[in-house]
């Protein structure tokens, strides 16, 4: 894959989100779930970064913190606007944030709960236009018709309610809403995981077409490795609130540097029925983000664990160009990728 030298769009530094655990009658703070625990990554313009990990590892929370849908506990999210100005999203005031909503939008996982069943398509897709006062009256209608056409739905549908549409069509409606304000950056939170496989491909292709046409940048949150491989330029792997590896898609899939990535890759189904199965079955449970283990969070389940892993937390380092890993033994191990 060609090296992407586009200007930086988003840089996330040490993003942290802790959810307090409150107990008892007085709701005293007895601890915190470290949903996102110091995440660093960057996305360049017109690029798709896939964010993968198993359920509960903090992928969605990361996406929502960037969107300021929930407030991050700490950390920086540096976003470069179209005029070149770089701003730190978590510090933005409410009014400035409203302005920025035009540039950053989100696509949701569940096409059923993400559309208000009591509104017509015109109201749903037109809502961003009306609340930001970008368009009025007839203009809204025209723009909605145009958006529906862009996502492959008929403009005549705009008087219908969401209950008249299938899952795939609903997801297209969600995409149309995200596109309404001409955003530059879209956080797609598992946009296809609730859809049938045949529909998944259509929605993925639509997303790719839109990216080519409008120069969009995606943060693509998913847990399906083949979906991520299909759409992403680079992939970041998360484990218990931390990023463990980040690299260009093919490099990560074929030559992973982190044992967790290796285990993930071994779980990708192979199309060849005669291929020998060498799945790595991870021992034990995913670490509890409210009470994570010492040292490297992955060490209790790691096949390559040595003493230092139990005591010292490794840094996320660039071991090869644009290939980051968070493992003490990244240099000495030679791990199997998808092919092996």
């Amino acid at each position: 894959m060609a090296e992407n030298t586009n200007p930086m769009l988003l840089r996330v530094n040490n993003l942290v989100k802790h959810f307090p655990i409150r107990r008892g009658f007085l709701k005293t703070n007895v601890g915190a779930v470290r949903a996102v625990d110091g995440v660093n990554f960057h996305i360049r313009e017109r690029e798709t970064l896939g964010l993968v990990g198993e359920s509960g590892c903090g992928k969605t929370t990361t996406g929502r913190c960037i969107m300021r849908a929930i407030e991050p506990t700490s950390g920086e999210v540096l976003y470069t606007r179209s005029n070149g100005e770089t701003i730190n999203l978590p510090e933005l005031e409410r009014d400035d944030l409203k302005d920025l909503r035009k540039e950053i939008q989100m696509i949701f996982q569940d096409p059923y709960s993400s559309l208000n069943p009591r509104m017509t398509l015109l109201q749903i897709v037109g809502e961003p236009l009306t609340v930001t006062k970008v368009a009025h009256g007839r203009e809204v209608e025209e723009r909605v018709a145009q958006l529906l056409r862009i996502v492959g739905l008929r403009p005549e549908y705009m008087r219908r309610y969401p209950h008249a549409f299938s899952g795939g069509q609903r997801q297209r409606i969600g995409i149309a809403r995200a596109l309404a304000l001409n955003p530059r950056f879209i956080v797609a939170d598992e946009p296809v995981s609730a859809l049938d496989v045949s529909i998944q491909a259509q929605v993925l292709n639509l997303l790719q077409d839109l990216q080519a046409e409008y120069g969009l940048t995606y943060l693509f949150v998913a847990h399906d490795l083949s979906v991520v491989r299909h759409i992403s330029d680079r992939v970041a792997v998360m484990y218990v609130g931390k990023l463990v590896e980040m690299a260009a898609t093919e490099e990560l899939y074929y030559t992973p540097l982190h044992p967790y990535t290796e285990a993930l890759m071994s779980s990708v189904p192979k199309p060849d029925p005669r291929a020998t199965k060498r799945r790595i079955i991870l021992e034990g449970e995913v670490a509890n983000p409210a009470n994570p283990p010492s040292g490297c969070y992955f060490h209790p389940r790691c096949r390559y664990c040595i003493d230092i892993c139990k005591e010292e937390e490794p840094e996320l380092l660039e071991y090869r160009p644009e290939h980051y890993a968070k493992c003490h033994r990244a240099e000495e191990l030679s791990l199997r990728g998808v092919g092996g």
Partner: protein, 383 residues
């Protein structure tokens, strides 16, 4: 762009496009309320309930016109059994029914009045006839009634009470009080419940805890003693209208708790829906989110809850008045009317004084059937 858009439409066309009929198209553009109505219509019992409720309220509104007598009009016929309407006199059938004349006599031995039917005197029922003067909807005085008979004939279809007053007329007048107490009480509880429940659900934290503990405390109080204590505190010198409002407030003091819990729960539930987050991310204000997204999504539940709460209020008023703690004569409500039925000897001798109870039963049942159908229809998006 036009080209690529077209090709995409084709893709979708292959995916799940199908030719649809006019009927289906109508469903697809159907709003929540029209979908609810479609569901509700299928529930026959609920529709019947709604019709009965409608008739009851119609009767309550036009009570002066529908009742043949004024609520306080006395007659010489004390505790007289209901006079039957006769359509067929044994020889020929007539569409205009008549009531037969009554002769009153005093039994010298027991000093009770006895009434005998005088089959020779017939009073045909007349419609839009003149009778007692009443105030039509508080607008003007008139004496036109829906039906009646010429004097000296009487038409006591449900019999009379201890002062010779027509029980049917009194039940109709009582209905206007009892039914409106249900409505007014529910409106009071709705305002209290929606406000406190909404605050509780929206702000959360300490406010939420305080309101929820308050509700738990109020719910844990036994209702009848609470009502008794409160209504005992209503000053004896208050006018009928003041007592009326005091009673509705007493009833709704308890009634808002359930509603507040529902509002809070629905508020918490819907504020975590993705579409609310989507609205937030598009830059919608809190006010817009509450009024356009949150409220509409649980308004139907609130209406159902209110429908089911009205019979509770009516029963509450009836119970209080029955115990002599609620409304007092000369105000007429179903509970006040039933108060006469507290005496077993009276009930045994003159069973028709229980008829106002039938109105209560009919209304409560009709409300419950209607509420049942509304509840089924309330969320047309769940299968």
């Amino acid at each position: 762009m036009a080209d690529s858009a077209d090709t995409r439409s084709d893709v979708v066309g292959g995916e799940e496009e199908q030719t649809i009929g006019v009927e289906e198209e109508r469903l697809m553009v159907a709003s929540q309320w029209s979908l609810m109505w479609l569901h509700f219509k299928r529930h026959k019992l609920a529709v019947a309930g709604a019709i009965v409720v409608g008739l009851m309220y119609f009767m309550a509104i036009f009570h002066g016109f529908i009742a043949p007598y004024e609520r306080a009009t006395r007659s010489e016929f004390i505790f007289m059994r209901p006079q039957p309407l006769v359509f067929n006199d044994g020889e020929n059938f007539s569409l205009r029914p008549y009531v037969m004349g009554m002769d009153a006599a005093m039994d010298r031995a027991t000093f009770t009045r006895t009434y005998t039917v005088n089959e020779d005197i017939r009073y045909p029922v007349k419609f839009l006839t003149r009778g007692d003067e009443y105030n039509f909807l508080g607008l003007f005085k008139t004496d036109v009634h829906l039906f009646g008979v010429d004097r000296p004939g009487t038409i006591f279809l449900l019999g009379t009470d201890e002062l010779g007053r027509d029980l049917l007329s009194r039940s109709i007048y009582g209905g206007s009080i009892s039914l409106s107490i249900g409505l007014v009480g529910v409106v009071f509880s709705f305002v209290l419940g929606a406000l406190l429940g909404g605050v509780s659900g929206y702000y959360g934290g300490v406010t939420d805890t305080i309101i929820q503990r308050l509700i738990e405390f109020l719910i844990s109080l036994p209702t009848i003693p609470l009502w008794m204590a409160l209504s005992a505190a209503v000053p004896a010198g208050w006018s009928a209208i003041q007592v009326y409002f005091a009673i509705t407030i007493i009833l709704s003091l308890h009634g808002w708790c359930g509603l507040a819990r529902i509002v809070r729960g629905k508020m918490l539930e819907t504020s975590h829906e993705d579409f609310v987050m989507a609205a937030k991310l598009s830059g919608s204000s809190d006010w817009r989110i509450i009024t356009r997204h949150l409220l509409p999504s649980f308004m139907s539940y609130l209406i159902v809850h209110m429908t089911l709460a009205i019979p509770g209020m009516i029963l509450g008023e009836t119970a209080l008045s029955f115990l002599g703690l609620g409304l007092r004569p000369p105000v007429v409500s179903w509970g006040v009317l039933l108060q006469q039925a507290t005496n077993i000897r009276t009930v045994a001798t003159y069973p028709w004084i229980m008829y106002p109870g039938l109105f209560v039963i009919l209304t409560v049942l009709a409300f419950n059937f209607m509420g049942d159908g509304l509840r089924d229809a309330a969320d047309p998006y769940k299968v």
